[in-house]
């Protein structure tokens, strides 16, 4: 069905001539332990109206490369060599030579090249309204007046599928769900219809249906604006769906690049092959998966009719109150050693549910019961701070947003060691354990002394995982725990988790939007929509024979990692009327 999209694209002669050429780019961070070559002699081209997908190992320099293009590499990073050619209508500018703070550069940012950051959740100003932040780029690069801008912003929000955009436009980032923030970011980037869009894993927090819509939206803009897209992602499915060209990065170098089909079906470089391999591997259930515990297995967590209603005051004196039912009467049972997946559209209340289980968010109704090692029931929803504190050793959480969940002023060692220290471990022991954990999640040990901001998204996420695993818990609420990991790594981490789970029957409440991961990793799955659990059952059943129409819609939107079998066009959306 890609053709359908293709036809939309203007066939004028300037078709697919390069807008952005990166040649021999090298970006280095001077760390205490020596220079770290985040990007080494990387070259790629973004063509008008085309999509260049960049895939690669986590920490291989994708984001840095992207930042380098916009000249916003964080210190101590610097562009060592290379040219970044931006082709304009009349002339070509080499961004690498511009002064990062110069007006020239400013004029390009946001207007000609705009970027969707990898961690949207922390990339938005916490104290400004979403609408305001989006409108800003309009104000900067267009002549629209205030009301016009607002209209446009609302329009954008609608396009990125934010419910009730008129309301949402006046809300603050912390009132948005992860995915919604990401979409807000996208809206911001698309606001001025740039020549080049750099999307750094723009869909990590989006369920497949929303993701599909976003991809369409981008495709549309490409079609009628001839926008060139540099699309960084880990989701081989997405790559297969949208890429024209693919460029594979590994340890800072571009190891392979070419048209999408070639990459998928005639990959030369071993890493690429491994990547494709693991993508395929994730297509079906993990071999290593222990047999799902039977219905008779003792429960570890019972959730009954949990619900959460948010009241967002408007204005200083809160005249109007916006009410959001984030979760409505959610009930589920998690058995010992079981993995319960939670899928659902973005903003459907997954995070809220997960957080309520740990009482990070106070439920406004219902109750949750936890069964400790001895099997005695503990009413979570009735516990006081002290009681909770005792349990937190056994119940852990992996946050959806790695960035903001890591204390910016603690070294990785301290971050991961924190739970241990609070269990009274000794410094030396902690260090060894941390080293071990880092090793498990595939990070070199010498990052211990680095601060969280000095990592790639994926690396941060792994740090989060390591922290969760540190005090050998019994229950982990994993919120999009692997969204930022490249497939090979994702497979590894999931295997690792399975391994641990087998060793000490640990249970997961595994929130994810990635059906393949769910299928690979979970025993049962709950499907959420608009705060309600619409379907709950064994993974295979739900995936093979979904009952609820929304689930079907969801599955229909799952991209397959094969450019020859593009199917997003064929997906159908779930609308209430269609329901029954």
């Amino acid at each position: 069905m890609i053709d359908a999209v293709c036809q939309g694209r203007p066939m004028h002669d300037r078709e697919d001539d390069p807008v952005l050429e990166v040649r021999g780019l090298s970006t280095t961070f001077d760390l205490r332990t020596g220079p770290l070559h985040a990007v080494r002699d990387a070259s790629f081209t973004v063509r008008r109206g085309r999509t260049l997908c960049i895939v690669g190992e986590s920490g291989s320099g994708k984001s840095v490369a992207a930042r380098s293009i916009l000249r916003i590499v964080p210190s101590p990073g610097r562009i060592e060599a290379g040219r970044i050619l931006l082709h304009g209508v009349d002339r070509t500018t080499d961004l690498a030579t511009l002064d990062a703070r110069s007006p020239a550069m400013r004029a390009i940012r946001g207007a000609r090249i705009s970027m969707i950051f990898q961690e949207p959740m922390s990339s938005l100003s916490p104290v400004h309204r979403i609408g305001n932040q989006i409108a800003e780029s309009l104000q900067l690069h267009t002549a629209l007046d205030k009301p016009a801008r607002r209209a446009r912003v609302i329009e954008l929000l609608r396009q990125v599928e934010i419910p009730e955009p008129e309301e949402a436009v006046d809300r603050y980032p912390f009132e948005y769900s992860g995915g919604m923030r990401q979409r807000a970011m996208i809206a911001m980037a698309l606001a001025c219809e740039p020549d080049v869009l750099i999307a750094d894993e723009p869909t990590t927090a989006l369920d497949v249906t929303t993701q599909a819509e976003i991809l369409d939206l981008i495709a549309r803009l490409q079609a009628d604006r001839g926008m060139g897209v540099m699309f960084i992602t880990h989701d081989m499915g997405v790559v297969a769906e949208i890429a024209d060209e693919v460029c594979v990065m590994f340890r800072g170098e571009v190891v392979e690049s070419g048209p999408v089909d070639g990459i998928f079906h005639a990959a030369k470089h071993p890493y690429t092959r491994m990547l494709i391999g693991s993508a395929a591997k994730l297509e079906n259930r993990a071999a290593a998966k222990p047999p799902a515990p039977g219905a008779d297995a003792p429960p570890i967590l019972v959730v009954e009719c949990l619900s959460k209603r948010f009241r967002a005051k408007k204005g200083l004196f809160g005249r109007r109150a916006v009410v959001t039912d984030a979760v409505r009467d959610a009930s589920l049972t998690l058995r010992r050693g079981e993995t319960l997946g939670v899928v659902g559209e973005s903003g459907s209340g997954k995070t809220t549910l997960g957080r309520m289980v740990l009482r990070v968010i106070e439920p406004s109704g219902g109750r949750a019961t936890y069964f400790d090692a001895a099997g005695t029931a503990v009413e979570l929803t009735a516990l006081d701070r002290k009681g909770l504190r005792r349990l937190y050793g056994e119940m852990r959480m992996i946050f959806q947003d790695p960035m903001s969940s890591l204390n910016p002023r603690m070294t990785v060692e301290q971050v991961i060691g924190e739970p241990l220290r609070n269990d009274g471990w000794r410094q030396r022991a902690i260090q060894d354990r941390v080293a071990e954990l880092l090793d498990l999640v595939g990070l070199p040990v010498d990052v211990m002394e680095r601060y969280p901001h000095a990592f790639s998204g994926g690396q941060r996420q792994r740090i989060g995982i390591a922290r969760a695993l540190a005090p050998e818990p019994r229950l982990i609420v994993a919120d999009e725990a692997t969204s930022a990991l490249d497939v090979s790594l994702r497979a590894q981490v999931l295997d690792l988790l399975l391994d641990i789970q087998r060793r000490m029957d640990l249970s997961f409440l595994f929130i994810s939007h990635d059906i393949s991961v769910i299928r690979y990793f979970c025993d049962r799955v709950a499907v959420m929509r608009k705060g309600e659990i619409v379907e709950l059952g064994p993974v295979d059943r739900v995936c093979e024979a979904p009952e609820h129409p929304y689930t079907r819609a969801l599955l229909s939107a799952v991209p397959r990692p094969d450019p020859r079998a593009r199917r997003l066009g064929a997906r159908h959306r779930y609308v209430e009327e269609v329901a029954s």
Binding site: L70, I72, P74, R101, P103, R106, A107, I108, R109, G110, A111, S114, M115, F117, E119, S122, S123, L124, S125, P126, V127, H128, E136, S137, L140, H141, Y172, F174, M185, M188, K313, L316, F317, G318, M403, H453
Partner: protein, 327 residues
């Protein structure tokens, strides 16, 4: 929020009551009473009070009676809007203060604005241009102003202006305008005199604001959202003002409400040296001379403003950062 404000207003009642009690007690804490200090001041000036006069004065000021009696008597009047009698000025307390609040407010406001206008830009500058020559220079000047006692500064300034311009600079008006009715000329004359106290009071507090602004801004500058804004192509200036500065203001705002009492309390010691008719010296002398109703009432007024100021600060905080809620 409205409910919150209401609640706070309610809290004020007990708080203020307590404050009034404590402050009244504190005013009384130093030994002796107004009469003692009156006499000793007199004697300090070479004067003398005969035993007979002492008795007469005692009778006149009716100073006998326990602190508590005095307190409740005073409180009773205050609640009826009568702040009592100033022994030292031989006037109702209102008159004493009223006559001076105007100028005090003017001076304090002027120096406050001066401080803000100077300190904020510099603070931002020295955060953005960390360790530039400018940063160092301003830091140095700032601390110079901070480390030299206002009294001394004022004195030196006056002496210099004396030796250089051959005229002393005390007061707020040149003699010819001292008692003249308000006019443009007088206003101008006032402004001509105003800058000295403003400068003196200002220098003492600019450093503080500069450093605090700098410190907080430095923390914000490296937050990811700044990068986002930058990626939008925002100019550095607007970017700073809109995002990091706003968050850096937080600590400042937590306190800004307390400028309210400061506005009418004025800088005592500076005013004394410069012989400014502000309320600061009044409070000081009132305290030194145990003029209890004057001191007590003034402190009470200040504390009311303090409490209100705190509330204002809290509201501003919530407005500045929507994540803050008080419910």
């Amino acid at each position: 929020m409205l409910a919150y404000v209401a609640r706070r207003l309610l809290y004020m009642i007990p708080t203020l009551f307590l404050i009034s009690l404590v402050s009244f007690a504190i005013v009384q804490l130093p030994p002796g009473d107004f009469l003692d200090s009156y006499i000793s001041t007199l004697e300090a000036a070479g004067g003398d009070v005969s035993s007979r006069e002492v008795e007469l004065l005692r009778a006149r000021y009716a100073l006998d009676g326990s602190v508590f009696e005095q307190y409740f008597a005073w409180m009773g009047n205050v609640l009826q809007g009568d702040f009592g009698w100033s022994f030292m000025y031989q006037r109702p307390v209102e008159d004493v203060l009223w006559g001076r609040v105007g100028l005090t407010f003017l001076i304090s406001l002027a120096s406050m604005l001066f401080v803000y206008v100077v300190a904020f830009p510099i603070g931002v500058y020295s955060a953005v241009r960390k360790y530039s020559v400018g940063d160092y220079a301003f830091t140095f000047l700032g601390f110079l102003g901070l480390a030299v006692p206002n009294f001394l500064l004022a004195l030196v300034l006056m002496y210099v202006s004396l030796t250089v311009f051959g005229q002393s600079v005390g007061g707020l008006f040149s003699p010819e305008f001292q008692d003249a009715p308000w006019s443009w000329a007088k206003l101008w004359d006032l402004l001509a005199h105003l800058w000295i106290p403003v400068a003196i009071i200002g220098t003492a507090s600019t450093a503080g604001l500069i450093r605090v602004m700098r410190a907080n801004l430095l923390d914000e500058l490296s937050k990811p959202y700044v990068e986002t804004a930058r990626a939008k192509g925002l100019s550095e200036r607007r970017l700073l003002l809109k995002y990091p500065v706003r968050l850096a203001l937080n600590p400042f705002v937590s306190q800004v409400g307390w400028e309210l009492p400061a506005l009418i309390s004025g800088a005592a010691i500076t005013s004394i040296v410069l012989n400014l008719p502000t309320t600061g010296p009044v409070l000081l002398t009132a305290l030194k001379s145990q003029d209890m109703y004057l001191a007590g009432s003034f402190i009470l007024i200040l504390s009311v403003l303090t409490v209100i100021g705190t509330l204002i600060s809290d509201l501003l905080l919530a407005w500045l950062d929507p994540r803050i809620t008080y419910e």
